[in-house]
């Protein structure tokens, strides 16, 4: 075959490919063009015109209505529920695990899974309209342990955030390395609720995690970080005399905020904080909580080490946090329990708490 035939063939193939690309692009634009859709929220309270084709979650966010989501729209957290009264289409398989029969009757859907293709009627809790977006400056990063970093973020001048101790924000990472898209995850606020111009977060590196790897390897002091919030119903109820607080790893974050909230507000509750860790190198904020214990007799700090090394000369509780819980919490009388940690730790602690008489109404934790 001579060279000119090869060139001609390649040229024809290239032209055909280019032509097909154009046809596909045009077809995509035509077939997936849902035009402008009207979103009627809460029976006419808010009317939005949006360009159809994206998820309800992302379109609402683009209109500054932030629905809580801990997983970044991947249908894994089940937090982004809204009422879709009209226009949502049938419930998807991806939504089924998160939507109870009662919620189905109320037309509850996962907004990350519902694609806006037509006009819709929505029902969204009023309090979500108060959630705001912030472009913060990262002003401090501190290694609390070998795999947990504390981030201190400064809100833009003149802006403030009002949150309940225990609530979380959504943290948006930027594309980096092999990650080509923005992602977001939920992180509890560890700073005091009284401090409204800064926020602090504690973020543990998760192997192969998209956002935690971004925080631990790419984020630098001085960078701008996008957050939205506050979200969540993990906050103090206080309809009791004593608060039993349990955390592991970066789960300390919301508990720290809760402890300061009780103290700053002068609330009368006794507090017992069980902090579970494996070894000495997993412990942090030890001096701070020990100092709080000295200053406020109502607060008792119980760090538990599962496997202290002999050279640690560990004088505290040895064993899993569940062991300390079993031994030191006699009953549930006038107590509420606040938990934050890994699913395994939560399950084990909840099981013990229930044997002590705690119920779903007196045990609080974030379900993401």
């Amino acid at each position: 075959m001579n060279f000119s035939v090869i060139l001609t063939t390649v040229g024809i193939l290239a032209a055909v490919s280019a032509g097909l690309s154009v046809i596909i692009s045009v077809a995509d634009a035509v077939l997936n063009n849902y035009g402008t859709c009207q979103l009627d929220i809460n029976n006419g309270e808010k009317l939005l015109s949006v360009k159809g084709g994206s998820s309800l979650l992302s379109l609402l966010a683009s209109e500054k209505i932030f629905i809580p989501s801990a997983c970044g729209g991947k249908a894994t957290c089940g937090l982004c529920k809204v009422g879709v009264l009209e226009g949502g289409g049938p419930l998807l398989l991806t939504e089924e695990p998160y939507i109870s029969l009662e919620e189905r009757k109320q037309h509850i859907r996962l907004s990350c899974q519902v694609k806006v293709k037509t006009d819709m009627k929505l029902r969204i809790p009023e309090e979500l309209f108060n959630i705001k977006e912030f472009l913060c400056e990262l002003v401090e990063v501190e290694d609390m342990t070998y795999d947990i970093k504390r981030l201190r973020l400064k809100l833009p001048a003149g802006e403030s955030i009002k949150f309940k101790a225990g609530q979380f924000v959504q943290f948006y990472s930027k594309p980096y390395g092999k990650v080509r898209e923005e992602a977001f995850r939920a992180y509890s606020i560890s700073s005091k609720a009284s401090e409204t111009d800064h926020l602090e977060l504690l973020i543990r590196l998760v192997p192969n995690g998209i956002v935690t790897t971004y925080v631990h390897t790419a984020l630098q002091v001085g960078d701008t970080v996008r957050l939205s919030g506050p979200y969540g119903d993990f906050y103090l109820r206080g309809d009791c005399e004593e608060l039993v607080m349990i955390a592991g790893g970066s789960g300390l974050a919301p508990i720290r905020s809760l402890v300061y909230d009780v103290i700053e507000k002068g609330l009368p509750h006794k507090m017992r904080f069980f902090f579970g860790a494996n070894t000495m190198r997993d412990l942090y904020y030890m001096e701070e909580f020990t100092q709080i214990e000295r200053d406020y007799p109502q607060f008792k700090f119980i760090p538990c080490l599962a496997r202290p090394a002999p050279e640690d000369n560990w004088q505290g509780v040895t064993g899993f946090v569940t062991v300390a819980l079993e031994e030191q919490v006699a009953d549930s009388v006038s107590k509420e329990a606040y938990l934050c940690g890994s699913p395994g730790m939560l399950d084990a602690c909840i099981k013990i708490l229930k044997t002590k008489g705690f119920t779903d109404e007196t045990i609080f934790y974030d379900k993401f």
Partner: protein, 150 residues
């Protein structure tokens, strides 16, 4: 070959930066359906199957979970489970697994590790992940490693 339209969301979710930083395909250029078929053939010739292996992996992880963060000996293996906050979605969209890693050493000093999601992928989908993916498990190696659990 034309992509099955039902597979498009799965293919998207398998790539890096969508559900996890490194994704599930590594450098493997085969369709995920071919990876599943190829690995199933390897297992069949080894006289086992994905569900059987997933059962054994689950047994080891469960036994060590109560003492997460601490190395324990289970059926002759040393097992260490690390539990993290949060969950990760299955790329096939039928499950959300806790972010949990299990490391296992046998008496010969060989080591293998898996995630809770990895075990689900093997059990429910026969998917051991693509070559080069950080949590890819070679079916023949895994079968041999878990042989003592028979």
């Amino acid at each position: 070959m034309k992509e099955n339209p039902r597979h498009i969301p799965v293919v998207e979710s398998l790539r890096e930066g969508i559900l996890s930083r490194d994704g599930f395909m590594g450098e493997d250029t085969r369709p995920f359906t071919d990876i599943i078929l190829d690995d199933a053939a390897v297992l069949a010739s080894a006289g086992t199957n994905a569900v059987e292996l997933a059962d054994k992996m689950t047994r080891l992880t469960r036994a060590a979970l109560a003492q997460a963060g601490q190395e324990v000996v289970v059926e002759g293996y040393r097992v260490l489970v690390e539990d993290y906050m949060g969950r990760i979605s299955c790329p096939f969209r039928d499950h959300r697994a806790p972010k949990r890693n299990t490391q296992v050493w046998d008496n010969a000093g060989r080591q293998m590790s898996w995630t809770a999601l990895g075990v689900h992928l093997i059990r429910a989908h026969g998917f051991f992940q693509g070559q080069g993916a950080p949590y890819r498990l070679e079916p023949a190696q895994l079968a041999d490693f878990l042989r003592a659990l028979d």
